[in-house]
Assembly symmetry: C2
Homo-oligomer: 129 residues x 2
DNA sequence: GTTGATTTTGAGAATGGTTCTTGGTTGAAG
DNA sequence: CTTCAACCAAGAACCATTCTCAAAATCAAC
């Protein structure tokens, strides 16, 4: 079953981007390209691509969801104060292996490993009152 | 600096609970206890407790945020189809070690490691069409 | 090609968790 | 008794995401 053309475009746009994109971002970018797509359709396809194991997603503390191709195994440091995130160079988990017993029939597609804490700037600001 | 009494109550309610609680859950529980608290206040304190490193939080695919005391190092398998989550017994990362160079002044308070995929039931359902 | 059924789409409305606003309450200090 | 500041609650506001549903596209037979 080949990927629908619409989904293909969406996935290409994600791959073309350097960073992660939110649903709104994607919609805005596609809007001014040769293949505009309604917001509802963007979200519909993002969900499907995620279930196909082609797209990963993580949630910011703000509640916004960011999407990226699965093959990007990036992880982040996120500040619980200002919300800024920085990307880690390497994945500390790498091949995190779960035993079949732990999985119990679950078929893993991707994982998210995020560290939350205080960024340098916010620590300084707190100490200075 | 001692914790304000209101924050203490909120934290106790979280510790008393077996599982994670959403902001709404907490508000509902406190409502019928001896120390009711407005919804806005619950969220205010949850954010503060998070910044103090006493509370952790993770986001479900639905966008809902779940809170727990930091000392609980639980991680989950989450189905990208039906959204159900199951708890892992042990933390595969354990002491996830980040070098000072990787941290760059960032002060980690907690981490979340979540696996996303398809649960047994949803795989079956997909195959059956 | 035409017809009719099925699927996909998109504009706008609805949803719902979270945050903001506003005005009231409390409590300590003077 | 004032004053001032901190804290709080109720409801409005916000906004990313989802839902609705009619129109458009696709497909399948004829």
């Amino acid at each position: 079953m080949p990927l629908a053309a619409r989904q293909e475009h969406l996935l290409n746009e994600l791959r073309r981007s350097n960073g992660e994109l939110s649903g709104q971002d994607l919609h805005a970018r596609l809007r001014q390209g040769p293949h505009p797509m309604g917001l509802a359709t963007v979200y519909r396809h993002l969900r499907q691509l995620q279930q196909l194991g082609l797209v990963r997603c993580r949630h910011l503390p703000s509640g916004e969801a960011l999407y990226a191709p699965v093959e990007r195994d990036e992880h982040h440091l996120t500040c619980v104060d200002c919300g800024s995130t920085t990307t880690l160079e390497s994945c500390p988990v790498h091949g995190a292996h779960l035993s079949p017993a732990q999985l119990g029939g679950f078929k893993p597609l991707f994982h998210t490993l995020e560290f939350f804490g205080l960024c340098d700037a916010c620590q300084q600001r707190q100490q200075a009152w």
